[in-house]
């Protein structure tokens, strides 16, 4: 009795403490309580601490999980991790609390006569395999599809790719990372010929300026932002927030500059114009290491089913590029970007000052953009023209939102066009995959099929008859869910969803497979700075919950591919990683051996001669540089990075008389993505229980809207009702509203537009036109 009362009081004290920490996190960008978890642990606790990466965002903080009697009881930041140096954000500290949720999926559920029936996992996997085989037999290989995740571990992504492309022989594999960083990939590939940032987080310790492009790091990447704030306090480093909405990041920055949605394209060109006009070009760098190209213009928005686009690059020279930029003088751009000439010149002067080191950071603001590839190219242009790249404290750096968007989606390659090394269209890359996978090369198709948006359009059209969704929740996260939810409910497609918790996506499944959570399985993630991190299984899964990798293997074996998937249940993570590493052997992308990853808090690839490569393309740090110069952009055949001529083009849908507001969507510090995990963590849910719609106070006043009043947001696709928020978390510009997308009860993606960048195929969640009315 006494014990239970004491435990209850301790629990309540813990809740009280967490409430205060969460409140502090929402008030102070990047606030960190490093000792919080340890304080809650009794002195005599005999905890076993195991290291791993955090489950949530792409920063890849190192965590230590304390287990006792087979249960995870505490989380603290890993002081040995150079990523977070012992710090964690409010989500990171609380992550393990979700696994005890009462509605955890513990058994397989099969829909029978409209009702879910608990089914032995083995029987459910039999059904999945038989349905997949049936669909292939009746409608061909391209009638089956798999939609995975930037949260899939490296082994999960690798087995999904081998299963779909190597065993079955279809490229119908894509992932939700298409929705968050595909534009960064195509940006890097078109400019440098190789994906992922050239720098690393240590840039934070060297930069004089951080320019954040459409990026609310205080809420989305709080630990990195806290490292930037530390440099601000310690060395006087400056943070410039360059965005379309005032956020927690803006208020903590040295300067906030707001621009009209979509005009970042013109503004980046205006910065380049100023750099050239003022003689700030690093001429020797540009002459030695850069070439100039232009591509097609008026490239469309992907709004039609089966939209196709292929760019046609054409070489140009510096003079032609300079001539093109004449349309982007600060005076001209200021008129439609709503950024003053003074502020454009201020930004250009920061980049142009040869004595200042500058890092540009971005995430969804630039990537979720109908010209996402272009705006990535344009920011690289700024760094290339000034030679501020691939050096400590100087460089462009795209951040990721998911823990293994880089490690799994980009490096393993769980996109329709990708292979673990290279792309399906390249014969040599197919031959390499065929050799390692031990399959006939003819089995791997040479043409990409469906990217994420088009995959769900194909489900709607009846072209896909079987889809397996793993570790993601597309019926909350896709744009225009008002089309794709009814599509997934159609009888023409058999839907399998493997997840840890019930979601709006499991609600439409024919089979729900119970997946093990993060620490209930071993795995590897790759973060934004090319760091691969390993963790071992720390606790048992409840019920029949099983690692996704193993469920993929079981289904592949049931379909007759036993010989391709010979892994052991006990050691499959290690066996798969060792097989996968063969794809990246060499100085340009060598991965660290597992023995190293077991000991260290991750290693950055290229891992060469026992050492991580922190700055690629710089001969001082990167052993792959071989041209005898200081820099070598070896991703391109001529060893030169490309400065792209990319114009400003309008968004596909702009506010008009009928739909007079821009709608911008995004996230909040308390919740991660669709909230399926963080909404099951009581303290985070209490701190931010539901979504809302932010208004500028002038708009609210003219519409007679008060805080908390229910507002109906309507677009040409659908509508969503949410409470109004004025002058609370964020402040949109006049004529704009903002809604976070984490709340499955207020589906703002019913309203968004499924337009996408024609090159990256990444949708734009930041710009569409809506009207608002009191509900």
């Amino acid at each position: 009795m006494y014990d239970s009362l004491t435990n209850r009081r301790n629990f309540i004290k813990k809740m009280a403490m967490l409430s205060a920490i969460t409140a502090a996190a929402s008030m102070f960008p990047g606030i960190v309580f490093a000792s919080e978890q340890e304080k809650g642990i009794p002195d005599n606790a005999n905890l076993d601490w195991k290291k791993g990466p955090c489950r949530f965002c792409g920063v890849g903080c190192g965590i230590l999980v304390g287990t006792e009697n087979g249960k995870a009881v505490a989380v603290k930041g890993d002081p040995n991790s150079s990523v977070n140096k012992g710090l964690l954000c409010v989500k990171g500290y609380h992550q393990i609390m979700c696994i005890q949720s009462k509605d955890r999926l513990k058994t397989a559920l099969v829909k029978k006569n409209g009702k879910y029936v608990e089914t032995p996992l083995s029987e459910a996997l039999d059904l999945v395999a038989s349905k997949m085989k049936e669909s292939i037999a009746q409608n061909g290989k391209d009638s089956v599809a798999m939609y995975t995740s930037g949260q899939s571990t490296i082994p999960e992504g690798y087995i999904a790719s081998k299963f779909m492309k190597g065993a079955i022989g279809t490229n119908n594999l894509d992932c939700n990372a298409r929705l968050c960083m595909a534009s960064a990939v195509t940006g890097f590939l078109t400019s440098f010929g190789a994906d992922e940032p050239m720098g690393c987080y240590e840039d934070i310790d060297h930069a004089d300026y951080f320019v954040t492009w459409g990026n609310n790091m205080a809420e989305m990447h709080p630990v990195l932002f806290s490292r930037m704030l530390e440099q601000k306090a310690k060395r006087g480093a400056k943070i410039i927030d360059f965005a379309t909405r005032t956020t927690r990041s803006s208020t903590a920055s040295d300067k906030s500059i707001l621009f009209e949605p979509q005009t970042d394209l013109a503004l980046a060109n205006a910065i380049c114009y100023e750099i050239i006009q003022n003689g700030w070009v690093n001429k020797s760098f540009v002459e030695k290491h850069c070439s100039f190209s232009k591509g097609l213009t008026n490239i469309g928005y992907g709004l039609e089913d089966n939209f196709q686009f292929t760019d046609k690059p054409e070489k140009i020279d510096f003079e032609a590029y300079k001539e093109f930029l004449k349309d982007y003088s600060p005076e001209k751009v200021s008129k439609y970007s709503k950024v003053s000439v003074k502020d454009i010149k201020y930004l250009a002067a920061i980049y142009g000052d040869p004595n200042k080191k500058v890092v540009s950071y971005w995430c969804m603001g630039m990537n979720q953009h109908t010209r996402g590839t272009w705006i990535n190219n344009l920011v690289y242009n700024i760094h290339l023209l000034t030679g501020k790249i691939s050096q400590p404290g100087n460089g462009p750096f795209s951040l990721t939102g998911q823990p293994s968007a880089c490690g799994t989606a980009r490096e393993v390659g769980t996109f329709t066009h990708k292979l673990p090394h290279g792309v399906v269209t390249n014969e040599k890359d197919r031959e390499m995959a065929a050799k390692i996978w031990k399959v006939p090369v003819e089995r791997i198709p040479s043409k990409p099929t469906y990217h994420a948006t088009e995959m769900f359009r194909a489900v709607d059209r009846g072209d896909i008859n079987f889809i397996w969704v793993q570790a993601t929740n597309p019926l909350v996260s896709l744009p225009k869910t008002s089309r794709y939810r009814p599509a997934m409910e159609k009888k023409s497609c058999f839907v399998v969803v493997s997840d840890v918790f019930p979601t709006p996506t499991t609600d439409v499944a024919d089979v729900i497979l119970p997946a093990s959570w993060h620490i209930e399985k071993g795995g590897l993630y790759g973060n934004s700075e090319r760091r691969t991190q390993y963790w071992q299984k720390m606790v048992e899964s409840p019920g029949e919950a099983t690692p996704d990798t193993w469920m993929f293997i079981e289904v592949a074996r049931r379909m007759g591919f036993e010989d391709l998937f010979p892994y052991s249940k006990e050691n499959h993570v290690e066996e798969i990683y060792n097989e996968y590493r063969q794809f990246h052997e060499g100085a340009k992308h060598g991965m660290a051996p597992l023995e190293v990853l077991k000991k260290e808090s991750g290693a950055i690839w290229p891992y060469v001669n026992g050492k991580s490569t922190q700055w690629r393309y710089n001969a001082k740090y990167d052993p792959a540089c071989s041209n005898g110069e200081d820099f070598h952009f070896y991703g391109k055949p001529d060893g030169k990075a490309v400065i792209w001529q990319r114009p400003f083009e309008d968004a596909p849908e702009k506010p008009d008389q009928e739909y007079p507001f821009w709608l911008n969507t995004g996230r909040v510090v308390e919740h991660w993505h669709t909230g399926s995990m963080t909404r099951r963590i009581p303290v985070l849910h209490q701190a931010m229980p539901n979504a809302y719609v932010e208004f500028h106070p002038d708009d609210a006043k003219s519409l007679g809207i008060r805080n908390g009043k229910n507002i109906k947001i309507t677009s040409r696709r659908g509508s969503c009702t949410l409470p109004a928020s004025i002058n609370e978390r964020g402040l949109p510009t006049k004529g704009q509203v903002f809604v976070p997308f984490f709340d499955e009860n207020m589906l703002i993606n019913d309203v968004t537009l499924d337009s996408f960048c024609p090159i990256s195929k990444e949708p734009d969640y930041k710009k569409c036109a809506v009207k608002v009315e009191r509900a």
């Binding site: 009081r9 309540i12 009280a16 205060a20 502090a24 990047g30 309580f33 000792s35 919080e36 710090l87």
Partner: protein
């Protein structure tokens, strides 16, 4: 048996002093932020009266600038 949590804002440069003072009062658990001038404070008292007296003592501390209540619970004896 009230349990309450607060955000305690120290006077500039007096974070350590405030921490020490709070801990010495008893019935207080303090968690300092690593990188901000703020403390999380959890108080655990036996009665409403005791809670009131403790709060008065806290508010009288010279190193405290502002005390903001975040949550309050009252459990059975």
């Amino acid at each position: 048996m009230p349990i309450k949590s607060y955000l305690a804002h120290p006077i500039a440069g007096k974070k350590e002093e405030l921490m020490t003072a709070l801990v010495s009062l008893g019935q207080c658990e303090v968690i300092p932020a690593e990188n901000q001038n703020i403390l999380v404070l959890v108080t655990d008292t036996h009665t409403e009266k005791e809670d009131e007296i403790l709060k008065e003592k806290i508010e009288a501390l010279s190193s405290l600038k502002l005390l903001a209540l975040v949550s309050g619970f009252n459990t059975s004896q």
